[in-house]
């Protein structure tokens, strides 16, 4: 009862109230959605203790048992605790403990700028390579679907650069007006693809997603879907 029925009832009540609240502008329903996000943020901080705890446990045991690459676990733990201490105690913060945690000049901000930002930026930048290798593979399109994807991608890719007009100039210079006209139309074709078939596909996907979400949400609210609650036993 307390382990299964109560959680299902809570889901039902909270879900229903939030749906109904959408139609009631009056207090306290009007901003119930925002209140919920606030509640969630607060719950998430508490939950972080579980996640952070797990991170420490995994790496401590790696070091303790001298598993492969245990040296790097020391680095992770060091990074974690130094950053945590720098943030929680606002070490080196010019305005002391009252200051903003990200205030310039603090150890937290320094670590963020010299280590966090380049790591984050570089990991993100790896995408350039991956997007290229993905396009390269797409070039060996195996079926109709892949070919359509490829052609659309290629036209848009070209259309967003000055390449078509340069090529057109080249052909015009060489006296091949037919090719020049064709390449001059690439930007128009780009716009057409973006505004017409792309838009249509986008809409079909979005409407589908909406119906999927509605049905999923109903299954959750009505307690038809309860996998996330786990088992009855301990």
């Amino acid at each position: 009862m307390w382990r299964r029925t109560v959680p299902i009832m809570i889901t039902f009540i909270v879900g229903t109230v939030l749906v109904v609240a959408e139609f009631i502008p009056h207090k306290p329903f009007g901003n119930l959605g925002e209140d919920f996000s606030l509640y969630f943020d607060i719950i998430a901080v508490f939950a972080f203790i579980l996640g952070g705890g797990n991170l420490c446990r995994v790496h401590f045991s790696k070091v303790y048992r001298k598993k492969t690459d245990w040296q790097f676990s020391i680095v992770t733990l060091l990074g974690f605790f130094v950053m945590l201490a720098a943030g929680l105690f606002k070490i080196g913060n010019p305005e002391g403990i009252q200051g903003d945690v990200t205030a310039a000049g603090s150890l937290f901000a320094d670590l963020y700028d010299s280590m966090f930002t380049p790591l984050q930026g570089t990991m993100y930048a790896l995408l350039a390579f991956f997007v290229a290798s993905a396009s390269y593979r797409a070039f060996r399109a195996k079926n109709i679907d892949a070919s359509i994807l490829l052609i659309a991608a290629f036209v848009i890719l070209l259309g967003r650069t000055p390449a078509p007009s340069l090529i057109a100039d080249f052909f015009a210079g060489a006296g091949i007006t037919f090719m020049a006209t064709a390449f001059n139309f690439v930007p128009t074709l780009t716009d057409w693809i973006m505004d017409v078939p792309n838009l249509a596909g986008q809409r079909a996907i979005l409407i589908g997603i909406a119906l999927g979400v509605i049905s999923m949400a109903l299954r959750l609210i009505l307690g038809v879907e309860r996998t996330y609650l786990g088992s009855d036993s301990k």
């Binding site: 909270v14 901080v45 659309a152």
Partner: protein
């Protein structure tokens, strides 16, 4: 100045460490990865602690409790609920009563379900249907990309898409439309002639048919997502046309993103060459 220089060198060291992953997994990458994971986990917890727990919870809740002792009720006292739910989450650390953490989880899932139901109904379903309600044929003037013969190109494309789609629905491999081949050919020829005439007329008559493609794309796309009917016959043909539209959409966003991803790499190379090595000014 000195600390700035150290900062740049550390940044460069880590930048190259991450990039070395492209060659293969190696200790340098492992080191950068380890530092990234530890540092960022610490960063998130510290930020969440100050920005959520302190600024959103404590700053609202503690004054409310104080005023309660002075006999006044403050709306912010409701934050107590969030605190209790958060603590319940932590009960997971005590296995015999760990199941209590399902209650805050139920609040989260219930709230998420409720909010998403409404938001997706309004922003995705209703609004998208509303904006699809458009004329399929118009007199051009109002669409931005129409210039220098764009209408004609557009219409020719429309007819091409129509003919290919029809051909596929009638003769495609997955189709099981139960008609004798001559009849199918007859329909196809009629359509072909109609499209040819349409193309011819669209050269002289200012009609814009792009609405037809949007309509067809949304319609066939939705058919693709239908679960209740097997993808055979007319339905299967339409669903296949639907997947083509989805593929164009995917291709378009793919192509659209490539260049912006390249700029990210340029950003890092810029850092290495200009800020670190000072090769270029």
């Amino acid at each position: 100045m000195g600390s700035d220089l150290i900062g740049v060198w550390i940044a460069a060291f880590l930048t190259l460490g991450i990039m070395s992953f492209l060659y293969k997994d190696n200790p340098w990458y492992k080191f950068s990865e380890a530092i990234f994971v530890g540092l960022s986990a610490g960063y998130w917890f510290a930020s969440l602690f100050w920005q959520s727990l302190h600024a959103k919870f404590w700053a609202n809740w503690s004054p409310a409790v104080q005023s309660l002792f002075q006999g006044q009720f403050d709306y912010n006292l409701l934050y107590t609920g969030a605190g209790i739910l958060g603590l319940m989450m932590l009960l997971r650390l005590i296995p015999p009563i760990g199941w209590i953490s399902r209650w805050p989880l139920s609040v989260v899932v219930g709230g998420t379900a409720g909010l998403y139901l409404i938001n997706y109904l309004v922003s995705n379903a209703v609004r998208q249907i509303g904006s699809t309600i458009q004329p399929v044929v118009t007199f051009p003037e109002s669409i931005g990309w129409i210039n220098s013969g764009g209408v004609i190109i557009g219409n020719v494309l429309v007819f091409a898409v129509l003919i290919v789609s029809l051909g596929f629905i009638l003769f495609g491999r997955n189709t099981t439309i139960d008609l004798p081949t001559p009849t199918k050919l007859f329909f196809f020829l009629i359509a072909l002639v109609a499209c040819a005439l349409g193309t011819f007329y669209s050269l002289s008559m200012p009609l814009n048919l792009t609405g037809l493609i949007i309509f067809m794309g949304v319609f066939c796309g939705l058919i693709y997502f239908f679960f209740s009917k097997e993808h055979t016959g007319f339905f299967g043909g339409a669903a296949t046309v639907g997947t083509w539209f989805l593929m164009v959409t995917f291709g378009a966003s793919f192509g659209y993103t490539v260049m912006s991803r390249m700029s990210l790499l340029i950003g890092r190379i810029d850092f290495l060459l200009v800020e670190w090595l000072k090769v270029v000014n």
